[in-house]
Every structure is written in structure tokens, then in C-alpha cells.
């Protein structure tokens, strides 16, 4: 459900599922936990392929941020309008920085 790449030493995790909902959330949480094991503090979540995120999906994304620790930095890239609306509604746009592309997210993160 995830594919990863590294851009300028920043781990970019792409969600390859169309929906991130209650049925996918536990697996997503487990996989991200495995990827960030061993002190990863910066993470870009690429949501370009995701059409829909429900409350459970949002919950696991926040739990990912918490896993990154107090100095952790989680950025969202490529979220569609529905997903952006969810972030806005729940004010997660104030917690995560939201960008159009992973590259932009990485650049912003390193700046």
C-alpha cells in the first residue's frame, strides 16, 4: 500500500491506495511505523493517488506525526481538493504543511 523514495535525504512515502479509510488504516499505521523506525523525523506523505480519506485515515496520519517525535516534521503533498477540505475542516493544515508536489514539500522542509 506504500511506496517510498528519498528526495534530498527526506523520506517520501507515497500511498498507492485510492482510499485511506477504516479498512486500510491499521495496515497503513503498521507500515509507516516500520518505515520510520530508527529515528526518522522528517517525512513527506505523497497523497497524489488518494481520492478519499475518512476520519480513521486522518487519525492514523496524525498518529504518524506523533511517532516522529517532538521535533518531527510531517508534510503532505499532492492532496486532492476533498482531502484538502478534510485537512482544512479539522485544521490539520495548521499542523502539517501542505504542498502540491513532493518536491515542493521537501524543498519547504529543507528551507
Amino acid at each position: 500500500m506504500l511506496s517510498t523514495e528519498t528526495i534530498n535525504d527526506v523520506l517520501v512515502v507515497q500511498v498507492t491506495e485510492r482510499r485511506l479509510d477504516a479498512s486500510k488504516a491499521p495496515a497503513f499505521k503498521t507500515e509507516v511505523a516500520a518505515l520510520t523506525e530508527g529515528g526518522v523525523h522528517r517525512l513527506v506523505l505523497d497523497l497524489r493517488k488518494v481520492d478519499f480519506i475518512d476520519s480513521s485515515g486522518l487519525g492514523v496520519i496524525v498518529s504518524c506525526l506523533k511517532r516522529l517525535g517532538p521535533s518531527g516534521n510531517l508534510a503532505i503533498a499532492g492532496a486532492n481538493s476533498a482531502v484538502r477540505r478534510l485537512f482544512t475542516l479539522t485544521r490539520m493544515d495548521r499542523v502539517f504543511s501542505i504542498h502540491d508536489t513532493p518536491e515542493a514539500a521537501v524543498e519547504n522542509m529543507l528551507a
Binding site: 479509510d21 477504516a22 488504516a25 481520492d51 478519499f52 475518512d54 476520519s55 480513521s56 486522518l58 487519525g59 496524525v62 476533498a82 482544512t88 475542516l89 479539522t90 485544521r91 499542523v95
Partner: protein, 661 residues
């Protein structure tokens, strides 16, 4: 047809064929034995007849010579001994005929002929003895000629009887046939030489016309002798025993060397000239030839008899062997049948019965342990394995069935529990009512039995009416339990609210105290002022509610806010908005706008707003019914994937409302 019957039929067929072949062989062997025995019997009679006719021929010639008294005194033989020889041979022939009566069709007839010949011979001898005693020379010579003729006739009868017997039982064996023929020809030779011995002596003593006749007779007989030798010569092409061949050739050579020159001299001799010398020489030579032919005859008889004996012995031996082989064959067939029955048919029958019963799931069928390592043993062991596997499989199935029953029972219990929980959860929702001038109606549709959605409307001590809707992240039992906790917490917070506590403080406090390991929830917490035409609300991650004005205008109000239980330090704001009599606030969980149609499109805020606008003129109940119907149509055949709940609060035209005006 069962294998058992098939093997039975095949084995019996094999045994029967074996017996049939053996019987055919045995019949042939018995026929050979019978033939050999017939030949032997016939040969015995013919042998005696041969001896008899030989002896009689000599008796005849010697008696003739005695009667005519031509012969020299020294060469006169004792006719008594010759008579005894002839009688003994004739008696022997009759005895042999009696012994072999069953084997020779002509035995009785031949015996009668012999008896008659014996009678005639006895009469002739008596006549001769009487004449001899008288001593009249002329009478004796006349009687001598009569004797010669009669005796010769008797000899011919014996020979004829012998040839009849030979023709009845002509041997198929080439050597035996050749020997029989040679014996017949040698007999003719013997008879002819014996006859000519008498004729030759008579010829030497005669003269004139009688001499001419005798010479003619002599020469005719000599022709018969030559013919006999010639016929014997033909038989020599057969593979005769070497001793017989040598004896025949020697006799012929001796004949050609001694007898032929003498007969020429005899025919051409002058009368009375050398009578005595010639007579002696003729008699001597004739007797030598007769002796030699007698010996040859004896050799032939011995050879034929031994050959016949060996033929009989062979036939008996082959008969015995074939009989033994037949017996062995039958025994083998029976043995094979018994072995196959015991080692194959019976165990296969038992195995097939066990297989049929096992196939019928009768696992108590006993399958005894195999004691053999052959195919039957392998089959038995395979069947035992099959049975063991079947028993194991049956146990597994029983175990599975038991587990399944347990699961069913557990599931039933769980479902029962959930149904009870659902009843309780439903009971916790406020029924449509009017509290402090505020009427409220709800719509509640869980995706499973219980829901993570809940709502409540509570009149506060100060007269204001508090309300909230909660949507716990996720759904199902866990979300339902959390929703109960959330409802209790918010309800208590409203009931125990102090006058100075603002709405956003209540939400912030709940958020701060919310256990980290519980799912978060979104909520709209609001209150309707009893004294002023306003209402206030805190939006915490919940979708923006719809404000339905009394005149039918609809609009979303609010914007955003942190969910409760996600970030402990989150801050919240209270939104205050005009809420007059007839105004309605419709709060809904995200399950409404996120309901998907079969194509995957969301119901969306826009459609919700359109539907509400369409029905904003009607009653709240009608509006909710229309919404429910619209959502169901949108969803199509499928079940809901998320909990759906709606709460509508309305300021009625109450006393407090009038107070404002």
C-alpha cells in the same frame, strides 16, 4: 461377472481342455496298443501255421519218397518225428487262435479250417500206413501220388489261412510288413523246394511221357521259386535289421550257387544214367536249402516277434506316460484352483467387501493386518491406511463441526450483546421533543448494529438548551463505546457547567482530558440562548452545519476546528449566530456527505444543501424523511459503510421568542 467366477471358469476350462487333450492322446495310445496286440496275436498264430506248413511239407515229401522208394536208404528220415512236429505246430496254432480269439475276427473260422485239416491229415496218414504195410510197389506209387496231391492241398490250405490272417491284420510298420511278406515268400520257397524235391526224385526215376509231365511240373515250380526270390528281393529295399538282410542274401547266394546248377542238370539228365548220384545230390541239396530257409524263417519270426513286443511295450509305456501326464495335469489344475481360491479369490473377496463397507462410511469395518508381502498384502495395507485416514478425517470433521458450533454460539452471544448495546445506545438518544422552546428531531442510522455517532439535547439550569452531535473516528463496537463515553462526558459538562464557563472552554477541557489511546471524535457543541435570538456553537472537526432560516433560506455556517482527542493543546472558538423563532440548525455526521453511490461519487455538501433547500419549506420530519430517501437512492443496493446521523434543533414560536419582540 465377478473375478472369482472368471478365474473359476478359466481354470475349469483349462483343466477340461487338458483332460480332453490327454484323453485324445490316451485314445491314440490305446489304439496303438490294441493294434500292436492284434498284430502280436495274429503273428503268433501265423508263426505256428508257418511251422506247421513247413513241417507238413517235409513230412509230405519224405513220406512220398518213402512210398515211392526211389530214394536211397541212408537219407530216409524218420517220418514219425516230422508228423509230431507238424501236429505240435497245428495244435500250437489252434491254441494261439483260441488265445487271440477276441483280437482276430477270423479266429473261429481259421480254427475250424485247422480242425478239418487235422482230421483230413489223420485220415491220409492212416491210409498211408495201411498201404505201407502191404508192400505192393505199384499200389504204393499210386498212393504216393495221391498223398502228394492231398498233402500239397492241405499245405495250400494252411498257407491260405495264414495269408487271410495276415490280410486281416496287415502291419502298418514298414519293417514288420516287409518281414511278414518275406516270411510268406520264404514259405512259398520252402514249399516249392520241398515239393520239387519229391518231383525231382520222381523225375529221375521215370521215363517216357511221365517224365515229360514231371519235368514240366518241376520247371513250373522252379519258376515259382525264382518269382519268390524276386519278390523277396523287392522287400529288401525296406530298412530291415542287418542280420535278417545278411541271412536272406546268404540264403539266396547259396541257392543260386548250389540249387540252380543242379536243377538244370536234373532237367537235362539222361534217364537212368546217373540216377543214384543225382538223386542223392538233389535230396541233399534240397534238404540243405530247406534247412537254411527254415533257419531264415526262424530268424524272421524272432525278429518280428521282438519288434512287435517292443511296439507293444512302447505303446504301453506311452499310454502310461500320457495317463500319468493327464493325472498330473488334472491335479495341477485342481491345485492351481485351490491356491488361487485360497491366496487370491478369498482375500480379494474380503478386501472388496471391506472396501464397499468403508465406502459406505462404515469405519468400524475390521481390516486385519496384512501378513503377506504380495499384492493382496499391499492392497490390505493400503486399505488399512485408507481407513486410518478416513477415521482421522472424520475426527477432524467432528472437531471442525464442534468448533463451528462453538463459533456459532459465541457469535450468537456477541450479536445478542451487540443488539443489547444497540438498544441501550438507541435509548440514550433523545426522542423528538420540545425542551425550553426548542424542538429537536434526529435521524440515526448505524452502519452496523451500533454506531460511533450520537447526539443529545439538554436543557441547562439557566434555561438555555445545550445540544451536541458526536462522530467517533471509525465505526463499530469500539467507536460505539467511545461515543457513549463522549456523550456522557459532554452531557455531564453541559449539566455541571458554571455560569462563567464558555463553550470553547468546555470543549478544550474535554479535549485536554481525553485519553490518548482512545479514538478521537468530531463534534458540534452548541447552545441556544433562552433570552436572546442567538445561538452559539463550537465546531471541533465536525462538518459545518446547515442553518435553515424560517423563510427557507439555507446556508452552511462555521468553518473549521480541531477534532477532540487528537491534539491536547488545541484551542477552540465559539461562533455566535442569529437564531430566531422558526430557524433550524441541521447538524450531520460526515457519513451523510461521504455516502458513495455505486460509481464512487460522494453525496457531497452541495447535494445536501440543495436537498435541504428543496424541503426547507416543509416540516423537519418531512425533511429528514426526504434526506433518508435521497441517501438511500444515492447509495443504491449497497449497505451504508459509515454511520449516518442527523440532529435538527428548531426554535419554536415559544414564550421566550415572543419576549424578544
Amino acid at each position: 461377472m465377478k473375478i472369482r467366477d472368471l478365474i473359476l471358469v478359466l481354470t475349469i476350462g483349462l483343466g477340461f481342455t487338458l483332460v480332453l487333450v490327454a484323453v485324445l492322446f490316451l485314445r491314440d495310445e490305446l489304439a496303438r496298443l490294441d493294434t500292436a496286440q492284434r498284430l502280436q496275436a495274429s503273428n503268433n498264430v501265423r508263426q505256428e501255421l508257418l511251422v506247421a506248413s513247413t513241417a507238413l511239407a517235409r513230412e509230405r515229401t519224405k513220406t512220398f519218397l518213402q512210398l515211392t522208394a526211389y530214394h536211397h536208404a541212408e537219407i530216409t528220415e524218420n517220418t514219425g518225428r516230422l508228423r509230431r512236429d507238424a501236429d505240435a505246430a497245428l495244435a500250437g496254432a489252434r491254441m494261439a487262435l483260441a488265445e487271440g480269439e477276441a483280437l482276430m475276427p477270423r479266429a473261429r473260422q481259421s480254427a475250424d479250417i485247422l480242425a478239418e485239416a487235422q482230421g483230413e491229415l489223420a485220415a491220409l496218414r492212416a491210409q498211408i500206413d495201411r498201404i505201407s504195410a502191404q508192400g505192393n510197389g505199384n499200389l504204393r506209387r499210386r498212393e504216393a501220388n495221391a498223398w502228394l496231391t492231398e498233402a500239397t492241398r492241405l499245405i495250400d490250405q494252411l498257407q491260405s489261412a495264414r495269408l487271410d490272417l495276415l490280410n486281416d491284420n496287415r502291419p502298418s510298420d514298414a519293417v514288420l510288413a516287409a518281414e511278414a511278406n518275406i516270411r510268406a515268400f520264404v514259405d512259398i520257397l520252402h514249399e516249392s523246394i520241398a515239393y520239387n524235391e519229391a518231383i525231382g526224385v520222381a523225375l529221375l526215376a521215370s521215363e517216357g511221357r511221365a517224365r515229360t509231365d514231371l519235368a514240366t511240373t518241376l520247371q513250373r515250380t522252379i519258376g515259382e521259386i525264382d518269382l519268390a526270390w524276386q519278390l523277396i528281393g523287392y522287400e529288401l529295399d525296406t530298412a530291415l535289421p542287418p542280420s535278417i538282410l545278411a541271412a536272406v542274401q546268404k540264403a539266396h547266394e547259396n541257392h543260386l550257387r548250389t540249387y540252380n546248377p543242379l536243377q538244370l542238370t536234373l532237367v537235362n539228365a539222361a534217364p537212368n544214367l546217373t540216377m543214384d548220384v543225382m538223386m542223392v545230390a538233389w535230396e541233399e541239396t534240397s534238404d540243405q536249402r530247406l534247412q537254411e530257409l527254415g533257419d531264415l524263417q526262424e530268424q524272421l519270426i524272432v525278429s518280428s516277434r521282438s519288434r512287435l513286443d517292443s511296439l507293444v511295450a512302447n505303446a504301453q509305456r506311452s499310454g502310461f506316460i500320457v495317463g500319468l501326464a493327464t493325472l498330473c495335469g488334472v491335479l495341477a489344475a485342481v491345485l492351481i484352483l485351490l491356491v488361487i481360491r485360497r491366496r487370491v479369490i478369498a482375500p480379494i473377496g474380503r478386501i472388496s467387501q471391506a472396501m464397499v463397507r468403508l465406502a459406505d462410511n462404515d469405519l468400524s469395518t475390521p481390516v486385519p493386518r496384512a501378513t503377506r508381502s504380495d499384492e493382496v498384502g499391499v492392497m490390505t495395507n493400503a486399505l488399512r491406511t485408507f481407513k486410518a485416514n478416513a477415521i482421522a478425517r472424520q475426527r477432524t470433521q467432528q472437531e471442525l463441526h464442534r468448533v463451528h458450533e462453538d463459533l456459532k454460539a459465541t457469535y450468537g452471544q456477541l450479536r445478542h450483546d451487540l443488539e443489547a448495546a444497540a438498544t441501550i445506545q438507541l435509548a440514550m438518544l433523545p426522542a423528538p421533543d420540545t425542551v425550553g422552546g426548542i424542538s429537536h428531531t434526529g435521524l440515526y442510522s448505524p452502519s452496523s448494529l451500533v454506531a460511533g455517532d450520537t447526539y443529545n439535547v439538554i436543557a441547562q439550569p439557566d434555561g438555555s438548551v445545550g445540544f451536541f452531535q458526536i462522530d467517533v473516528a471509525g465505526h463499530g463496537a469500539a467507536a460505539a463505546l467511545v461515543s457513549v463515553a463522549g456523550q456522557h462526558t459532554l452531557s455531564q459538562a453541559i449539566l455541571t457547567r458554571r455560569r462563567e464557563d464558555r463553550l470553547e472552554d468546555i470543549v478544550a477541557e474535554v479535549n485536554r482530558d481525553w485519553p490518548e489511546d482512545l479514538p478521537y471524535f468530531t463534534t458540534i457543541l452548541g447552545e441556544i440562548d433562552p433570552t436572546a435570538p442567538v445561538a452559539r456553537m463550537v465546531q471541533a472537526g465536525h462538518p459545518s452545519p446547515v442553518l435553515i432560516r424560517s423563510d427557507g433560506q439555507v446556508q452552511y455556517i462555521g468553518g473549521s476546528g480541531f477534532p477532540v482527542g487528537m491534539l491536547p493543546q488545541a484551542r477552540y472558538e465559539t461562533l455566535e449566530f442569529a437564531f430566531r423563532a422558526g430557524d433550524r440548525l441541521l447538524i450531520y455526521s460526515d457519513g451523510v456527505i461521504e455516502t458513495e453511490n455505486p460509481a464512487g461519487d460522494l453525496y457531497s455538501e452541495a447535494r445536501l444543501l440543495d436537498l435541504i433547500a428543496e424541503h426547507s419549506g416543509g416540516s423537519t420530519a418531512d425533511l429528514l424523511t426526504a434526506l433518508q430517501k435521497s441517501l438511500r437512492n444515492w447509495r443504491g443496493r449497497s449497505e451504508l459503510t459509515d454511520d449516518v446521523s442527523v440532529l435538527v434543533v428548531e426554535r419554536t414560536n415559544s414564550r421566550s421568542n415572543h419576549a424578544i419582540h
